[in-house]
Every structure is written in C-alpha cells, then in structure tokens.
C-alpha cells in the first residue's frame, strides 16, 4: 500500500478514529446521532479553523502561541462594539482587521525582526489577553452579555441554509481553503520549501519574510474569526476564554503529522488529529468519566498515537 508507506501517522489516526467511533457506538446509545456529531464538530470547529492556517504556519517551521488570547480579545472587542452601537457587520469587519493587527505584531517580531516565535508570541499572548480583560473592565464588568443586540447572537446561531451551524460551515471552508492552498497554490509550495530549508528558499528567490508574515496574519485572522463566531454562538463574551487553546491547536497539528521543525504536514492530517481529540473528549463526557481521568486519557491519547505511528513507521520500513 503506497498510502501506508506515505504516512503511517494518518493511518494510525484513521484507525484510532474508527476504533473510537465503533467503540463509543457500542458503549453509549447516545453517541451515534446527527446531533452528537454536530456537537463534536462544533467543539472542534474553533480548533480546526485556527489550526488550518496554523498548520501551514507550522509547515514553515513557525508557530503561534497567541491564538487563544487573540480569540478572546476579538470576541470581547466585537461584543464591546456591538453593544455600543456599531452595526454587527461593521463590528465584525473592524474586529477582523484588528485581529490581523495582532498577527502583524507576530509577523513583525518573528518574521521581520527574527525573534524566536515562542517568546514573541507569548509576548503577544500576554498583551492581547491583558487588553481583552481591560476591554471588559472598561465596559464595566468581567464579561459582556447585557445589552448585546439581538442580531449579535443570531449571527452565530442561525444555521446556514437552516441546516448547518455557521461554525461548521466556516470550519469546512477553512479546511477546504487550506487543502487547496497546500495542494494547488504557489503559497503552499513556498511554505513547504521554507520549512524544508530556509536558506535554500531564500536563495531560490522565495520571499520568506513575506510568506511567513502572511501566514501569521492569516492565523490571527482565523483566531479573530473564531472569536467572533464563538461569542456570537454563546451570546456572552468573556475575556478568559481560549486559555490553553494554543496547546489544543498545536496538538491537533502535531497529531496530524506536521513537524514542529517544518517541511512536512498536511491540513487533512490536522483535521484527523482534531477529530481524535474531539471524539475522545466527547466520549468521555458521554460515558460520565470524571474530569481527572479525562486529563490523563488526553495525555495518553497524545503519546499513544505517536507511539503507534512510530511502530507502524518501523513496520512499514521493514
């Protein structure tokens, strides 16, 4: 099987996913239903939307730890503006532009100045989180809910075509877009080249600074979009949301087979990684497993998946 040779990690993920779905179908009568699958997709939507862009960023050998803060900031900014009379559409537009500004800050520090992405994006993480909390405080509280116009929530909750929740539509669009970028565009090709060998990429005339910067801005844009979607759906904007989201995003990406050093990886793999995490979490709540065991299982899934794929790798090689 050429496919197996190509990427054992994806095979392992598909295997685990299948095992989870079959196992949970037997274990819980409530598992196999459209509603439940919708729930799982909604749960992973934010992770997948951000990870679509962040995956390609990681393919270039960079990453962004500030996504959770940018998400929180964007949610609260959108709520703040909507509450204070800005039209929903305009508010979303402004929020997305400001979100891209955070991406621009990351691009400036990491890509242009050349600071290590961990420190630079942790810096942004602090700053954006601080301002998210401050915006809520300027509004007079710890979060924003009262006084939000009705269409604020409608935006997030009204299903598209009366069928599919908007977050899922956006998620599918994001995944589709990035699979397309990865496979069919110069941007994708160049991103892989940058991750595979930065020096070669420069000497081949690839605008490495520009492309990495663009991806940072895109990641922040998607984080901002997720923030808008999330607050709209929940109907409450809290500056504390999205803590640890950066880990969820990176875990999905790495589970999907993307290397932190760059050069390899795929959007599809990331989707599989996110779904494995999503279904595991869903299954454990369905089965009523206490919280402590959930975190242990989460760690187990992470390590286990990689151990398994290493094993497959060795087998495929032998």
């Amino acid at each position: 099987m050429r496919f197996l040779h190509a990427d054992p990690q994806k095979v392992v993920l598909i295997g685990i996913l299948a095992a989870l779905i079959v196992g949970l179908t037997f274990a819980s009568p409530h598992f196999l239903s459209v509603t439940n699958f919708t729930n799982v997709l909604l749960k992973v939507a934010v992770i997948v939307i951000i990870a679509s862009a962040a995956n390609l960023l990681m393919v270039t050998g960079n990453f962004d730890l500030s996504v959770g803060s940018v998400l929180a900031f964007s949610g609260i900014l959108h709520a703040y503006m909507s509450k204070h009379g800005v039209a929903i559409e305009l508010s979303i537009l402004i929020t997305l532009i400001v979100a891209m500004g955070w991406g621009g800050l990351n691009a400036l520090t990491v890509s242009v100045i050349g600071i290590n992405p961990v420190i630079a994006t942790v810096g942004t993480l602090f700053i954006a989180r601080g301002f998210a909390l401050l915006i809520a405080r300027w509004d007079g509280g710890a979060n924003i809910m009262l006084g939000l116009p009705r269409d604020f929530v409608d935006f997030g909750r009204d299903p598209v075509f009366g069928l599919i929740p908007l977050a899922i539509v956006v998620m599918v669009a994001a995944v589709g877009t990035f699979i397309f970028i990865e496979k069919k565009t110069a941007l994708g090709r160049k991103a892989y080249a940058i991750g595979a060998n930065l020096k070669s990429a420069k000497l081949s005339g690839i605008n490495t600074v520009g492309i990495v910067s663009l991806l940072y801005v895109l990641v922040a844009l998607f984080a901002g979009l997720s923030g808008v979607l999330q607050t709209s759906r929940v109907g409450l904007a809290a500056p504390t949301v999205g803590k640890g989201l950066e880990f969820d995003v990176i875990v999905a990406i790495i589970l999907g087979g993307t290397s932190m050093l760059g050069g390899v990886g795929s959007t599809f793999g990331m989707l599989l990684g996110a779904l494995v995490v999503g279904f595991t979490a869903n299954g454990m709540v369905l089965l009523g497993i206490p919280f402590y065991f959930q975190t242990i299982a989460y760690g187990g899934i992470l390590i286990g998946t990689l151990l398994l794929s290493r094993k497959f790798d060795a087998k495929a090689a032998a």
Binding site: H30, T35, K43, Q230, R233
Partner: protein, 340 residues
Amino acid sequence: MKKLLTTAVVAAGLTATAAMADDVLVLGKIPYTLEHSYHQSIVEMFADHADKYYGAKTIVVDGQANSDTTLSAVENLIAQGVDGIALHSPDIGMTAAAVAKAHAAGIPITTTLIYPETKNAPHIAPQEALSSHREGVVAAEKWIAANPDKPIEIAILDFGGFEQVVHLRTGPFVAGVKSIAPDAKVVAQQNGFGNTVKSMEIMLDILQANPGVNIIFGGNDDMALGALAAAEQLGRGKMDNGVPLTEIIAGVDGGENAMIKIFDPNSSFKLTQGQVRDNARAEVDTLVAMARGELAIDAWMEIPTLSQEIDYWNTTLAGAQRFLQENFKFEGNLAELLAN
C-alpha cells in the same frame, strides 16, 4: 527601560501608589481572581467602604486563583506594611500558612469563603450552603409541580472537584433537591472550568448522553449561562411564563447577566444567589477593628453574611434591581432591559 516603563504606566493612566501618610490606614485585599465579575465587584465594594467609613486606602493584589501566587500576594502586602489583609484564599491548606505569616508580622488578617482549619483569625462566612440548599429545594418543587411524571435528573458543572464548591454549593444544592425528591439522581457531574464557553461545550455532551436531565446546577453563573446556551442550541432552555418545560438551571453569584435571564419568564435559568457588599463590608470592619486594637487579631470568630437566594418565583424584580445596585453597582434598569 525606565522610560519604557514610565510611558507604559502613564499610558495606563494609572498613578503609582504614592508614599502613604502614617495616619492613614492601608488595607490589603487579595481577591480570588479579578477575572471574574464577582471578585471585581467585591474589590470595588471593599475599597469604597474602606474609604468612605474609615478613610482607609486599599491595595489590591490579585491571587490569580492559585495558592502559590496568593501566598506571594500576602507576602507582598506584608512587605508593604499594610495595616490589615483581607484574604480570599483558593486553598484551605495554604490559608493556614498565610495567616501565620501575617500574624508573625503582627498584621491583622481575615479569611473568607474558604473555611480555615486553623481557627486563629476572623473568618467572614457567607452562608452559601444555606442558599444553595434553598436553590435546590425551590428548583425541585417547581419542577415536580410542573412535571410530576418526570423524575428529577441532575447535571452539575463544577470546578473539577474543587472541594469548597462541594461543601458550599453543589453538595447543599443536591441535598436541597433530594429533600423534596428523594429519588432524584445526579446523572452527570463535569468540570465546567468556571467558563461559559467550556460549559456550553460540555453541557452539549452531557445533554446528549442524558437527555432526561431536568435540573442543572452551575458552580457559578458563568457555567450556568453556558449550560443555558447549550440547552438553547438543542431547542431547550425554555419556560412558559415561569412554568418549567425543559429544565431548570441554577447558578451562583447573581450578576446582571444572570439576572436578566432569571427574570426572563421564558428562559430556563431561574435561580442564583449572591452577596458582595456585606461580605466586603464585614471584611473591612473586622480588619479596622483589629487594626485599632478593638479585636484580638488571633482570635477565632465566624462572621456570617447572608448570601441572598434569588429566583424568578420568590424574588421581586424590584428586589433583584436593588440587589444588583447594592452588590454590583448596577446602573441600568432591569425592567427596561427585560422589556427589550
């Protein structure tokens, strides 16, 4: 660097706490975490009361929901030589260490909510357990009255086994429900992380696994609101003019976000409880009394404050309005907001 910091501080529009005059009392307040509205309000009430009644200044150092950071905050305040410390500790064990440190420095200290085991300092004790029990009773009664044929199934969102929440909130609530409906069952209990978004996600899963859930208790209002959002997404979360249809949701804190839902006759979030002002005042009064030598600083004393139970059926709108004004400096008009 100095310039940078100066600009940052000036930009913040904040003035550094200037040298303190000796005759002015300075009180330190350590909230659990400023990221929640309840704690923001209590800090504000504390500072107001200290200033208004005693001309005292307040220094706030955030505990950031972490026992290590909170203990450092205590040490920081001791180093600043405050005249009293009001501590909301996140952990029972750490509380003892904090009290010992303050006492060693001869500084009065009060604790609140987290019940200390070393009983050697005044403790401001909001009577949450009573109100939680009462919430349980009201919820059970209302559900049985409207749906006598549907046995009660309870789902709980907590902070991941945080024990104080078990003693003050989730435990008494369940006991309250069971006092009315002995066969009521807790079918799900999960960590909602005190967070609306996480609570919504988890409640979706819980309701998927347990469609029969009809009483939901959130360990705070943020989690209750998350549960409500989840229920609404599933087409639940409704009441018919105060008559339970799908479920009853209860929370804790009593902020305006919760209140607007509670007094919406068609929403299923119907109960909460809270107190801010009395707690803050009790803390200030006790500290000042100790600082003035009117109270021994190392004598155990429990100062109960009422945590007011609020629900759609038994609290008047005017009462809720007053509650918000007194405790959360609410400036809006609940009735007007509801009309929109």
